[in-house]
Symmetry: C2
Subunit: 499 residues, 2 copies
């Protein structure tokens, strides 16, 4: 082994420690969200803060600095180049923040999520407000350490979607919003009004859980490499590519909520489970970006999971399991799950209006981070924007500003990924149909495995080796565009609403 | 704050890191036993090995050495003296083992437990054998590093019960064994033969779980500071004194198994939940020793949980919940749960013969560690001893040599603690009845809280500040003796069996 190869092995050994700490933190975090007894939370926050501190030390050590310097200018292959870039990015990002502040922030976000949970349960923003104020202050402070070029919010966007800026998002979101508004207007005038009443009969948790697991298995989720559990807000977390867990939240009075939530998280999990074993120690053994991740989850949830072909196969099983669907035709069911109705809660929004929920959050975050509005204004602004964009108004904080956990975890800049995921997903679909023209016929026969294989070969197994823009180009041959998603929406809803 | 006080604070800050790592490891370990997907196990082993390595570094660092040297000869209060002694003991124990070997051992035991689980399920000792051989070799190797005076096995005993030796155990166990044998002979000749058939009707898991939780609550187990889950082998683990978890294993065809298992683990958990908050950072924030811990679990399980007074109160509730007990009188039920019958499985053994199971394991471990027998001989020797001591013989490995998880975790020297727990427990009972003469009248009225309070004041809240011998002396005024336990057994079984 030559010197360079030896040094690369050493570096991977070093990186594995960071990965071990992240894996341990993830287990502690998962447990805190899924099963911790209430009085155990405070100490758990301390332990998580300690582990983050240890990660911080490894990411910013002089050893790390030496590795990065050593590899700069060296002739490395794709994976190793990407590994060094990732390490350098982490180094710069964390090195610029004083360690003490970093640890305080991790502890704060850990406690904030519990406060958010209580606030949401009691529908009282004031419980969460002091935490959120601190989190926003931290983010503003951190941006000063990191620096920014055009817009402060760009710095946060770059974490989740390298290369995405306010300028680009403003443009894409304007295009998307216009298209949705036109469609919504047409739908309002349509005489088609799908029945959805049968979704709100009583569906026992046990039967929903069983059906969710059945669908996950058909999707290719490997239960020997993962679990399905319950939590207030659904999420996916990986401890390694061989232990990827998802959670869902069962509503006995709505069949759709847990089902599509599970398919969504299942899309994330299938991604993580398929990442190549060889990426251990490279820091690249997880999804490429939040947007690419959301492209996978929303691809499964909507493009596949709300397609007529999907239910051509699965509705037979659903009818067997749920007598509530007796007398409801496949056509009615299909229209029911694609019923468009502006509503208050993002995760239960229909596929069409969903992006408007994202645009609201994007605008609020952008203004908050740039100091144009303050946390105390949020419930009011939230209400105003929902009224303006969607024509609905929250009755309380729980169904309004408190509905999402993201801000409690400090995730500013994350929300736009969901809408980007829609755009990427439609681009992937367009390419997949070129590669496998009979995709939807296969789906109608209950075959989802070919999908998983196509996604694995094209996207999943590479983990974070390629940047989002590289993946899009590599897979589809084109740059990011809203064109395919808008085409997809127009085609789908024209048919359903006969417009 | 003077220099000494300042140094003590610094030391506690340092120790807290060790405690954080232990807490994190415990969460990962609990999750591995309760819910990990099968393919996630190997990586989890790596993460646990990494965390153990970090603990090792902190316990054996030059910083630790300096702290220990600094405090030696200083005038410290009880808690701080005990803290420094504990740190010094850990330092010596781990410093003498090469770090690499230590990490390998932790990884081995982590994988061994999974192998043991598979071996037990398949009832095939050969699956577990190569792991156990390595574990025994490691222990023999480690004893060479640590050194020993009279008997190699003494070194391992000292981990779990400081001060206990083969010489002392041989003596106490001989005394105990004689007493049990005499009683067993009398019982054999007794015409009393309690019914137990009703315990083996079908008891649904759900109803057992609900009853277990009900009893735990009455015992004072705080569900805001803990959980009850399922695992193959029941255990208790603490992440802090505010997050103490127990597991049990439900057998639908035996009412007793999960119930008394839960009461047993509940006794451990109540101990950990009551440890003083101020012991954070002292390394003393857990039970004093395995023997003292077992005294608490077995006190609740047997002395209280199998007393007539306990069921005078709880049998009414049991009859309400379980129609299987219709027509079974309290007297019959009481005799049923105390039915003596030599059997194969330790954790399901009756209170009287239980100690014989321990003596068998003690003798095997002693011989194994001293190289007088080898792992390959275990199934044979196990069978021979069971035949000789208990008159029963295992049909397969699962109900024989594979029944306990202890060896898979590397816990040699642990088993004697169970029998010591019996002796300590009877000594505590004797003193409690002097302090609170109407204890059993209170229990018959459903009051268990006074028990918890007495144990907390006398034992629990001190954590590991005092050594086992100090606690026994401090609480009862006497040294360890088998006298009270033998008296207790004689009295109880004379009444039940009319002998």
């Amino acid at each position: 082994m030559d010197n360079l190869a030896k040094k690369l092995e050493e570096f991977k050994e070093y990186n594995r420690k960071i990965e071990y700490l992240n894996s341990a933190s993830s287990v502690l975090y998962w447990d805190m969200r899924v099963g911790i007894p209430s009085k155990g939370v405070a100490y758990r926050g301390e332990v998580l803060a300690f582990l983050s501190g240890e990660t911080y030390k490894l990411q910013t050590s002089s050893t790390m600095e030496e590795y990065i310097k050593y590899f700069e200018g060296k002739n490395l292959d794709t994976i190793n180049t990407s590994m060094v870039q990732r390490a350098k990015k982490n180094y710069n990002l964390t090195k610029k923040i004083p360690e003490k502040r970093y640890i305080e922030y991790v502890e704060l976000t850990s406690n904030s999520e519990i406060a958010w949970q209580e606030a949401k349960e009691k529908s009282d923003f004031s419980i969460f407000k002091p935490y959120l104020e601190k989190i926003v202050d931290f983010n503003r402070e951190f941006i000063n350490y990191w620096g920014y070029e055009v817009n402060k919010y760009d710095t946060l966007l770059d974490f989740y979607e390298p290369g995405i800026t306010v300028e680009k998002l403003d443009k894409v979101f304007t295009e998307l919003r216009s298209a949705i508004v036109v469609l919504l207007e047409k739908i309002k005038k349509s005489s088609v009004s799908p029945r959805t009443d049968y979704f709100n009969e009583n569906f026992s948790k046990v039967s929903q859980e069983s059906f969710s697991k059945y669908i996950l298995e058909k999707m290719g989720f490997d239960f020997e490499k993962g679990r399905l559990d319950e939590s207030v807000h659904p999420f996916t977390i990986e401890f390694s590519n061989k232990d990827v867990r998802i959670t869902t939240n069962y509503h006995e009075d709505d069949f759709r909520s847990a089902l599509f939530g599970t398919i969504h998280e299942g899309g994330h999990a299938i991604y993580e489970q398929a990442i190549d074993d060889n990426l251990k120690g490279t820091l690249l053994g997880s999804g490429a970006s939040m947007g690419i991740h959301e492209s996978q989850s929303r691809f499964y949830e909507n493009i596949i999971g709300r397609s007529k072909e999907f239910w051509t196969y699965f509705y037979i099983e659903a009818q067997k399991r749920f007598p509530q669907f007796k007398g409801v035709t496949l056509e009615e069911f299909y229209k029911g799950i694609n019923h468009v109705e502006p509503s208050l809660v993002r995760i239960e929004a229909d596929e069409l209006t969903y992006s408007l929920h994202i645009i609201i959050r994007y605008e609020i975050e952008k203004a908050l981070i740039n100091g144009e509005i303050e946390v105390t204004d949020l419930p009011r602004i939230w209400g105003e924007k929902y009224k303006e964009y969607l024509g609905v108004e929250p009755k309380n904080d729980s169904e309004g500003v408190l509905q999402d956990t993201h801000w409690a975890g400090g995730s500013f800049g994350y929300f736009p990924s969901y809408a980007l995921g829609n755009l990427y997903g439609a681009q992937f679909l367009n390419k997949m149909l070129k590669d496998i023209p009979d995709s939807f016929e296969r789906i109608a026969n209950g075959d989802l495995k070919f999908l998983q294989a196509w996604l694995k070969d094209n996207i999943h197994n590479y983990g974070a080796v390629y940047k989002p823009s590289e993946i899009i180009k590599k897979v589809t041959g084109e740059e990011l565009t809203a064109k395919y998603f808008i085409e997809y929406l127009n085609k789908k809803y024209s048919e359903i609403y006969n417009i």
